[in-house]
Symmetry: C2
Subunit: 410 residues, 2 copies
């Protein structure tokens, strides 16, 4: 697939034409780091979003759903880190409306053209004086190469920014898709039916497309990326993925049109890269583990087994300790709710046989332990029932995870 | 309820009349500690058992299910720690049969009168020479006060034995119920419909009762005890609870008979004490947390919400850090699958209000943090939808948990 695309060097949300961004210090973080980002398009954008399915959606999530349902186009996204504005009631919702109004005023656009996302501590009201300061100073810093500054400003327990941009040609015209995201903990999409995501991600493109098509494209991309990762099995109140298309490339893309395959692949590739980056940078994660279940009777069983293994504390701590202890993997598959016959199950670590017919395959433990020292490996579980499969990307469970989360106050 | 009962000092499985037990070093544990126990009745016992619902039941679990279905009575239980005899195929099953046959021969009883339980590492064959040694030496050590030795011998990552016995009178005759159990990790019952448990537990009584009644009594007791605990959300392949009644007291108990209420309460009390002991001694657990969800629309929702909170890594690490971070509790309830309106939710830590109407109740964080320093506290979540409730007992997530499980080889 990759030969279709050019990777943009140091690419991100401002790689597509006509987008500006900035990172600014509004004052939410005690560290004094930048903690607010704005991403702005020079032209009206068609757009689509997917959001958490948590019963406690944060105020900005409820607001963005409204905008998705009622606004024909948008021009800007503001994102603050440090305060989630979740479980904040009517006051929190009014603060989100006020944030949109302030940004609209500063940018000379309509309030309904501003999307808002927040991340950080749940249950505290957002200090609006800081939002005001962030927007006031942010608009002065907006630039065509501000994508990286925005990607930095939205981080919380992340240790590094997550960005990518790719471009491709349609009839000689260049189209670019770029994105950035944040997320390291409280990462676990859990329902595949309702479109939703697990963190905050903005994907921009200079393609021209209508909202309905963008909604299809982002749902498909999210299901193949953010909905396949778990760090800690904890679904957030604030998960948001936004896709903005401003048409600056002059290339119109629609379902089945020329370039639509490339466009959909580009969005998916950016989403997948960013989703994997979240696991790589997951809280305390020292190993990236791809849990690949195949041979399931149906999609639901494949996902149940893959998620049970990917979220098992006993599996995750064993991976941290380079302990091949495959019994924990079978036990997790065995309680997952998936239906299969134990005697048909095989397990591989990368290409190394571990379990065959439900029993030890005989590979020496020392060889398996050696393989597990790698930064990345796969656990492949073949259930022997059918042809359904599911891959979940996850990490290990470390001392560092406990340290980060036993005392998290932003 | 407690005034009905006398607690037997240092009581355990040999407190009921006519039971003997021992602990012996068979050689499974590298430490050289005792690692095999036998519990034997002088008379035939009626009996019942509940077992894991994991799709990979260990060989002794499959064997015990057979015995429960086909044998009218039993006389003995052998338990080894260090090797789980799970995922060991036909050879593992034959080894369990051979264990029963060896014990039967040494005790001069029928093989079908011997129940077998194993705990320890999954996926390795049990060394039968050690089983032979354990049984050969064990039968010589059987005694009427061997309950404590048996309770010690079955431990794995547990730090202390778990035992209790209570007695009560029926028409002037004394009836005693005693029990012991092991379990610290891989602890999470997950299905409330199928009777099953989460660890190894033997409950003995000198009451006389038939198998069908004992099956009712143990199912009810397990649902109210072992099925309410979770340490790590990992359901084991070897979970086993056995109830043996040898009739030595001369008191016959049946459904609705005189003394049946006391008997059922006694069994439940012993099961509940042992289940709570497992959480107190859970791997790395520094705090015992009772998660109490009330006001749910139905039992399923109450349990979904309670389990999501009890198993959330973000909640458990926050408890370890004495961080009141109640947003994580609401977020877990919000993704649990339970149905409720966020604005109706209240949360208390013990009696201290934390959330009211889905919003911060205003109790200073410092007061909540102080409360969380206790060895035991409760998280009470009132959903405001109906009258269903569910309590799950769990622990926190600590550095020690990671340490224990990142390198577990017995």
């Amino acid at each position: 697939m990759n030969q279709e695309f050019n990777f943009v060097e140091n690419g991100g949300v401002t790689s597509p034409a006509g987008f500006l961004a900035c990172g600014v210090c509004a004052g939410f973080k005690r560290s004094g780091s930048n903690d607010m980002a704005m991403i702005v398009s020079e032209r009206d954008c068609s757009f689509a979003g997917t959001f958490t399915s948590n019963l406690f959606p944060a105020a900005p999530v409820r607001y963005c759903r409204e905008i998705c349902a009622s606004s024909p186009n948008v021009r800007a996204v503001t994102i603050n880190s440090g305060v989630a504005n979740a479980c904040t009631g009517l006051e929190g919702y009014q603060n989100t409306l006020r944030t949109a109004a302030l940004a609209a005023e500063a940018l000379n656009i309509e309030p309904r053209q501003v999307l808002v996302a927040s991340t950080g501590r749940i249950g505290v009201q957002i200090p609006m004086d800081k939002i005001e300061k962030g927007i006031r100073e942010g608009v002065k810093l907006l630039s065509h190469d501000g994508g990286s500054a925005a990607a930095h400003a939205i981080l919380t327990t992340d240790t590094r920014p997550k960005e990518l941009a790719v471009s491709f040609s349609v009839n000689g015209k260049k189209v670019t898709v770029g994105g950035c995201c944040k997320g390291a903990g409280m990462i676990s999409p859990r329902m595949v039916v309702a479109p939703h995501a697990t963190m905050i991600c903005v994907i921009t493109t200079d393609a021209e497309a209508d909202n309905a098509y963008l909604a299809q494209v982002i749902e498909k991309a999210v299901n193949a990326s953010f909905n396949k990762i778990t760090v800690d099995n904890d679904m957030s109140t604030n998960d948001t993925v936004l896709l903005l298309a401003n048409g600056s490339s002059g290339v119109r893309i629609a379902a089945g049109s020329e370039g639509s395959g490339q466009f959909e692949n580009a969005v998916r590739m950016v989403a997948e890269h960013l989703a994997r980056s979240i696991v790589y940078d997951g809280e305390g994660v020292s190993k990236f583990v791809s849990v690949e279940v195949s041979g399931a009777a149906n999609d639901r069983d494949a996902e149940l087994a893959a998620r049970a293994i990917a979220n098992s504390p006993l599996c995750k701590t064993a991976w941290f300790g380079c302990d091949p202890n495959w019994g924990r993997i079978l036990a997790a598959a065995g309680y997952s709710g998936a239906s299969f016959r134990p005697e048909n199950v095989s397990v591989y670590f990368d290409e190394m046989p571990v379990v065959r017919g439900g029993l030890d395959a005989g590979t020496p433990e020392s060889e398996l332990a050696e393989l597990m020292k790698h930064r990345e490996f796969s656990i492949k579980v073949e259930l022997g029932e059918g042809s359904a499969c599911c891959t979940i990307w996850t990490g290990d469970f470390t001392y560092e995870y406990v340290k980060i989360n036993a005392d998290y106050h932003t």
